[in-house]
Every structure is written in C-alpha cells, then in structure tokens.
C-alpha cells in the first residue's frame, strides 16, 4: 500500500503495469546488486506450454518497488553440519508469515524443518526484493517465489551430488535433507553438498521440478508451529523494546497535541530536576502532510525509562495549536453527513442511478458513521538507534524496514547506505508500524547524542499520536419500483484520505480507498453509482488493518440486511439473490472509467468471482445452522465481503442483555485460494473477530480543540477475556495450488461489524448505524 501512495504523492497518477519480459531477468543488469554477487531472478513468468507441476502466474509482486527476488543464494544458507538457514524478509507482526514462507521454501527444497533456522532480513530491498509487510500480501506475492527458491535449491543440491557421483541429475533424488542415488545405493547429506551446491549458478525456472501437492510435507498441513513459539512463551523473543546496547539512553518525547502545533513557551526546569534525566532536546515540528517524519516536540533523555517518562511528564509546554486546533469530532461528523447529502465525484456509473432513484416508487436512505480509530498494538511504538562514525544503525519493529531506512536517511541528510535497519519482532502493528516515525526519532536523537538512544512511546503517546483510521460517513440510497424490485443503488462516501499524510490535502480519496468496497459492489442491480464526496483531514490519517473495507463492508452489508427487512425477506436468501448468478465482475459493464483497483492484482489471475462470494455465504449459513431458533434476545446475523482478493462470510451469534452485547459464537467461511498454513488462517480469523468486536463495540477516537481525548485502555477500550467472541469456527474452502493463495491478515475484520449489527437487529429490533456501539443499546 505504502509505495503506491508514495507514487501518487509524487504526481505519478497511475501505477505502471509490471514489466514482465522474460522468464528470468538478471537483476544485476539493473545495477542493484553491486557487490552482493548473487544472481537474482527478478521475475518468473513462463511462456505458455513450459509450465511444470506448478504453472507460473502473474501477481503484482514484481510491480512493487524492488520487485521480487527468488534466488536461493540470497535466501538459503546450508552449514557443513547440514543446518539450513532461511531468510524471512517479511516482518512478523502476528500473522505467521515469518514461519509460513520459510516453511514453503523448506518443503520445496526437501529440508527437514527441525534442521531449519529462520533469520530475519534487515531492511534491504535491492537485495531481498520488496519488504513492505502490509496489504495482506506476504503469501499472495511470495508463496510462488518461495516455491521457486526451494525448488532451485533442491536442483542445485541434486546437481552437486550428481557431479560428485559422475551421474546425470535425473538419476538422483532429494529426499529428507539428503540426495540419494537408488541404484548405486549412495546418499549424501545436504551439509556435505552445501559448498558445491552453493557454488552453482541458480538454475532457470524452466528446468525446475516442483513438488506435486501430495508430496508436500508442511505446505497446506497446518502442523508447523510458529518459529518463535518457544521464545515467546519463555520471554526470550526479541521485540523492538528489548534491544539494548551498552550505554543506551532512553528518550520519551512530548509531541504537539495537535499536528503542526508549535511551542509558545516551555519550562523544563522540573524535568531537569528529576534524578536520571540528562538532556532535553528539541525535534523540529512538522505540519500535516509530512509523511512519516516525526511530529517533532521535546525529548527528555534519561539514563532509564522511568526517569525519561517522569521527565517528559514534568515538562510544562504551552502550545500554539495552529490550523487544526479547532477540530472537533461531533462537528466533523455533521460535516461528513452534509458532504454526502450533495452529489460527489463519480467513481462508478452503471446505468443511471440518479434517474432511477428519481423514478423509484420508494427510496430508502441509510447513513453509516464511523469515527477515527487508533491501532493500539500491544507494543507501543519504540526503537533503538545508534550513531557512530557517520553511520546509523536502527533496531525497530517496523512493517517496512526499507522505507524506514530511506526515510530516516533523508531526514538525517545521510546516504541510505550508511543507515541500517534491523527488524525485531513486532508486538502487533495493524498498519501503525508501516509508519516508522518512531524509528526516525530514535535515529535523530542518536545522532544528536552521538550514541545509542532508545525511544519509548507511552500508551498515551500511541493513542494520541497515531496515523488514525479514517472517519467516514457512507450514505446509501436504494430505489425500489412498485413491485419492490431494486432498481438503483447509490453509494456516497465522505472520508478523509491517507493521501493527506503524504501530500497537500485535496479532500479526495486515493484509488486504493475507492477500490476497497466503494467501486466494486458485487450486486446484480441495473443502476449502480458510487461517488466520493469531499472530506479534509485534521489529523494524521493512515491505514489500519483492513483499511476502508471496514466502513464499506459495514455500510453495504448493513444496508443489504435493512433492505431485506424492508422487503420482508430472509437476510441470507436476499444476500444471495442480490449477489446474483456466478460471474466475473467486469469493470466496463459496472460503469467504471477504467479497471477495478483490485489490490493492483491482474484481473486475469485474481478476478472478482461473485460465485466465490456466494459460496462462502452458503457455506457459513449451512455450518451456522442459519434459520435455527434461539432464545429471546439472541439472534444470528450474516455479512460477506471480498477484500485483499480473499472472500469471507461470517455469521455472528449475538446475545443482548440490558444493553450489553455478547458474542457466544462466530462462524467464518474463508476462501483464500490455496491455504498454505490452515492453522494460521484459523488464528487470523479468531483474531479478526476480536479485533472486529473491539472496533464495533468500543473504538472511537474523539477530538476536541484539535486534541485527542482518549489516552489509554480505560477510555480506549479493548475486548477482553470476560466478553469476547467465545467460539470462532473457521471453514476454509479447499482449493488446489492452482487457485492462487491470497492473504488472510486483514480480510477477516470487515464482515464482523455488519454481521454483529445485523444479529443485534434480529435480536432486539434495534438498528446500529453509528459505530462504535458503545452505550447505544443501554438507552
């Protein structure tokens, strides 16, 4: 996501299609591999007819900055004792990609997983390819290269053994960490072959033999625990806040309460008087639109964290609030509602929705509202940086370590080659840690101090200085004819864009935001229009797990259930009927000026198949026992949404008692193509239900005089063990590898809130249109 927005901000309006020109292009020709010595296979699209067990397919991976690298010389090392090291180049924030992708490599190279060590890559995209861990893309973009790395490594090991024995390569087999020659009765372990194998050139893809799916040991099984499991349960896992260098100082920073606010006066005498406080340093204030540059403010640097926190809290600063100093949430909500009352800019125009609404026998109008939200990962932002001899080294929990590196270099006026970013485990991220302002802060202070500085954000800092999920009003007008047939669907969206974080705010949404459920309504209706209405940001807006899909799924799936009720129809039956017969959504028929955004994925490989959406609806309804009778105050609700090119449907069982909502059970049907690690698919769905329930019940950041009013978990609440979705059942639609694997980190979240709201309606007759639910049902 990140890189596409940057491109837009640089005024390049369209993203060029991936340059697919050959089976293998030697990336060293592009001059990016100087000194690395590796032969990098940058892209891998086979000419038709040469495909083996696993035909190559196109993804947007190679279109990402620095593309995709699939060379075993970069990703695999084998020690003489046979111990295999595999590089994880994606950041681990809880989805399991640090385990799953190396596991795919290990399986395809016939390595014994017990003899594999996973090593985290530093931020170096020219070497490893794109590392931007967001957009639910780790599996989608990297499962194919991972299989290629593994198969190439296996080929090289076989080649080395064949050479040693003086036989042809097709006489030998690689099985269970060794190469064998059956008729000779010879066998040699991977360790003994390592040196010779690694000296070989990477074979071209067309000679690679991929495993047949029934030969997989680990892929698709869900039997491999995450690599950090033991360390996590013993406290040895290393997160951003756990790295220390000798002499590390701790900085806690007072940041402007309103973005761009400047210091009118400061009294730091009380801060300086605290034992352990050593230095006070200023960071330059930046206005909205400064991308991931630190907000600026005043850093208290101390010998330990406690002194730094106390010192920061003792600062007396009077701020000049500046242009966003009057931002107020209630007034802003009214502004968004007013914006959607007027026609906006069309992003989809199929038939003539305006005319059909004018001619309609009845028009139903529904408005849905959601305030800003903060990611609140359990580990607040934190980073350690050291500066010595003109070089800066950072240890940080970042989703995009290369962007952290280049942004920090730019901020410090350094060359990126003099900045290193080491990636720790991420204690949750949810999009927040794509924005490495905290790492840049640490680097800036380390350079000033001339030694290691660890920046620690408090929870209050995290809640008050986030890159907030957009706030939105989604208005849907539905036209019915005299026979109660749906003739028109008009969806208007007013939501400040994350573009405002990158460039001058024009009040318009980016194609990514439009593509997340605004332009791609999968319903069979003759007249459909989608419009975006102006909305300007007054705080830093950034992506948050599932992004604009959250308000869109809430609006569309709530409105569908409202419409079903209006028509006296069953919600599930009506949802299936309005989705219509199985078809591939076609942008031209849908009245789009161009293509669907589609996560930038090629529609040929990742089309919007409405049959798969209906499929998960049918599956989940059947599993949940849709239609069963429940006690008074309890009911099921259903919702379905395609996001990140995965299809998810949910049935939420809600129980409402004295205005308190409980969720005894959730059924989730997932169609994510080939499921490489079903166990982690299930854990992501369980997590998505909790995350979705927190958003639906509690999450709202409110501003007054431009300042965030919430500060910690007492007023920005989280779902806890005393009221959470108690039993989440996940059903994965089985597919072979031919149905491309897609990610599951985000797609589970969007259907939760509408399925819950629909269940609440069915249980109580109360319709939730404004999130969070909060105390609405208590009144």
């Amino acid at each position: 996501m990140l890189h596409q927005i940057e491109k837009f901000a640089e005024q390049s309006k369209t993203v060029p299609a991936a340059a697919i020109d050959s089976v293998i292009s030697n990336a060293s020709r592009r001059g990016v591999l100087k000194g690395l010595g590796g032969f990098v296979l940058a892209l891998h699209l086979l000419p038709a007819g040469r495909a083996g067990a696993f035909p190559a397919y196109e993804t947007f991976g190679p279109g990402m900055p620095n593309g995709v690298v699939n060379d075993p010389h970069i990703f695999v090392a084998i020690a003489p004792d046979g111990e295999v090291t595999i590089i994880a180049h994606r950041s681990e924030m809880g989805t399991g990609s640090r385990t799953t992708l190396p596991m795919v490599i290990a399986d395809e190279m016939e390595a014994d997983w017990d003899r594999v060590t996973v090593k985290q890559a530093e931020g170096d995209e020219p070497k490893y390819g794109n590392q931007d861990t967001d957009g639910s893309r780790s599996l989608r973009h990297h499962i194919q290269p991972a299989r290629e790395i593994g198969a190439a490594m296996r080929h090289m090991l076989k080649q080395a053994a064949a050479k040693q024995w003086g036989v042809k390569i097709d006489e030998v087999e690689a099985v269970g960490h060794q190469v064998i020659h059956k008729s000779l009765g010879s066998r040699v372990g991977y360790g003994d072959l390592a040196e010779a194998a690694m000296a070989l050139k990477t074979p071209p893809r067309d000679v690679l033999q991929f495993k047949d799916e029934k030969e997989f040991r680990y892929i698709g099984k869900g039997t491999v625990p995450i690599v950090d499991l033991h360390d996590i349960t013993t406290g040895k896992a290393v997160y951003g806040s756990d790295v220390r260098l000798p002499g590390t100082r701790v900085a806690v920073i007072a940041r402007p309460p309103v973005v761009g606010a400047t210091i009118k006066s400061i009294d730091d005498s009380a801060a300086k008087a605290i034992a352990g406080v050593e230095t006070i340093m200023h960071l330059p204030i930046t206005p909205l639109g400064s991308k991931f540059k630190p907000l600026g403010g005043v850093a208290v640097i101390a010998e330990n964290t406690w002194a730094a926190i106390q010192g920061r809290d003792a600062l007396k600063i009077e701020w000049d609030r500046g242009e966003h100093g009057t931002f107020e949430t209630r007034a802003y909500e009214a502004e968004l509602r007013a914006s959607t009352a007027e026609p906006g800019t069309s992003v989809r125009n199929q038939g003539n929705a305006d005319a059909a609404l004018k001619d309609a026998a009845k028009v139903l109008t529904y408005e849905y509202y959601q305030p800003h939200m903060a990611h609140a990962p359990m580990e607040p932002p934190t980073a350690l940086a050291n500066y010595a001899d003109g070089k800066c080294e950072i240890w940080a929990p970042v989703q995009s370590p290369y962007v952290a590196r280049t942004d920090t270099a730019e901020y410090l006026g350094m060359d990126a080659k003099d900045v290193t970013v080491n990636v720790t485990l991420l204690g949750g991220a949810f999009g927040r840690k794509s924005k490495a302002d905290f790492a840049t802060e640490a680097a800036f202070l380390a350079k000033q101090v001339g030694g290691p500085v660890r920046v620690q954000w408090t929870r209050e800092d995290d809640i008050r200085h986030s890159y907030y999920h957009t706030s939105s009003v989604e208005r849907i007008d539905i036209g019915l004819d005299s026979d109660k047939r749906v003739t028109a669907w008009r969806h208007r969206s007013a939501a400040p864009s994350f573009l405002s974080t990158f460039t001058e705010d024009k009040g318009v949404q980016h194609e990514i935001e439009i593509g997340m459920g605004l332009e791609n309504l999968p319903y069979e209706i003759s007249n459909v229009s989608a419009e975006q209405c102006p909305a300007f940001a007054h705080t830093r807006v950034g992506w948050f797990r599932s992004v604009s899909n959250i308000p869109r799924a809430f609006a569309v799936q709530s409105a569908t259930a409202e419409l079903a009720h209006e028509l006296g129809r069953d919600q599930k039956e009506f949802l299936l009927e309005i989705i219509g017969p199985p078809r591939i959504l076609d942008a031209k028929t849908a009245g789009l000026p161009g293509k669907f955004w589609n996560q930038y994925e090629p529609e040929k490989e990742f089309p919007f198949e409405t049959g798969r959406l209906s499929g998960v609806v049918r599956l989940v309804a059947q599993k949940a026992g849709w239609g069963k009778s429940l006690p008074k105050g309890e009911a099921l609700g259903i919702a379905a949404h395609r996001s990140f090119v995965s299809y998810i449907a949910m049935v939420v069982h809600a129980k409402v008692e004295k205005g308190i909502v409980r969720v005894p059970e959730v059924h989730v049907a997932v169609d994510c193509g080939f499921a490489a690690n079903p166990e982690r698919v299930r854990s992501q769905m369980q997590g998505a239900c909790v995350f979705g329930m927190t958003a639906a019940l509690y999450s709202g950041i409110s501003f007054d005089n431009g300042e965030v009013q919430e500060s910690n978990f007492h007023d920005y609440e989280m779902v806890r063990a005393d009221n959470f979705p108690e039993l989440v059942h996940t059903y994965i639609v089985p597919h072979s590898f031919e149905v491309h694997a897609t990610g599951v980190g985000e797609p589970g979240v969007p259907p939760f809130a509408p399925a819950l709201a629909n269940a609440i309606f069915n249980a109580t007759g109360r319709r939730i249109r404004n999130l969070p639910i909060g105390d609405q049902l208590k009144a």
């Binding site: 809880g94 996590i232 349960t233 406290g235 997590g687 909790v690």
Partner: protein, 149 residues
Amino acid sequence: MKITVNNAEHVFEGDKSMPVLWYVRDELGLMGTKYGCGTGLCGACTVHVDGMAVHGCTTSMEAVAGKKVTTIEGLSEDGNHPVQQAWREQNVPQCGFCQTGQIMQAAALLAENPNPTDQEILDNMAGNICRCGCYQRIISAVRQASTGA
C-alpha cells in the same frame, strides 16, 4: 533495599517509586516482562510478588522491598511450566507480545486454584489484553494446564 528476583538477591538504591517493570527491564535486562500501558490496564507486565500476580508497571520498588519477585524468566528452570507447555500445545500466540503476561497471570491463578471453573478462568484473565485476539486459545490453554486435557 534488598529484593529477590528469580531467586537471586539484588540491592537497589535508586528511585523507590520506580515501577518493578522498569527495574527488571532496564536494570536487570529481563526483557520478558513487557510495557503495554503503564497504568495497570493491560497486564503485559504481570509478574509474581511472593507468588501473587501483580502489575509490574504500577508496583513500585518500595512495595517489593524484601519480597520475592518472579518474572517469566524465572517461572520455570527449563521453560516447561505446565502453563508454558499448554500455551505451546494450543499454538496460542500471534504477535506474542502480551503472552508472557498472560502466562504469568494464568500460572498464578492455577497455583492458587488448580481447578478453576470456566467463569473463574475468564474473570481471572480479563485483566490481560491481547490485541491480536488470542483469547479463545488462551482460555483453552489455561484449561489444559489445569486439567491436562
């Protein structure tokens, strides 16, 4: 003042109001105890003081003078406390950041009440937030550690 952490005795002469959390992390380098909120609202910093689960972020050094503090590093010698084992068998963690606090909370509960009811488990674990949403598996793991099933 004297304080025992994971059976080792230490002398502390700094700010008595310093929370145990920052002492074990900054002074002793025991990084398994996590900072999540600083106000006793999330449980990521849960440690045992004389066997009782407390929030390391709101418990001052003064309050633990002369007492025995146990962190995740000291919960068991080999990392195989029944709760740790159950956590692994249930594949509980996602990001993992809150899990040491969850484990310390669960271990204290089971030490005091080896056979808690489901409701007792839920109530006892409600102080520990998991933003990734591993609660279903957390509850299963506590139950497994308790009953062995």
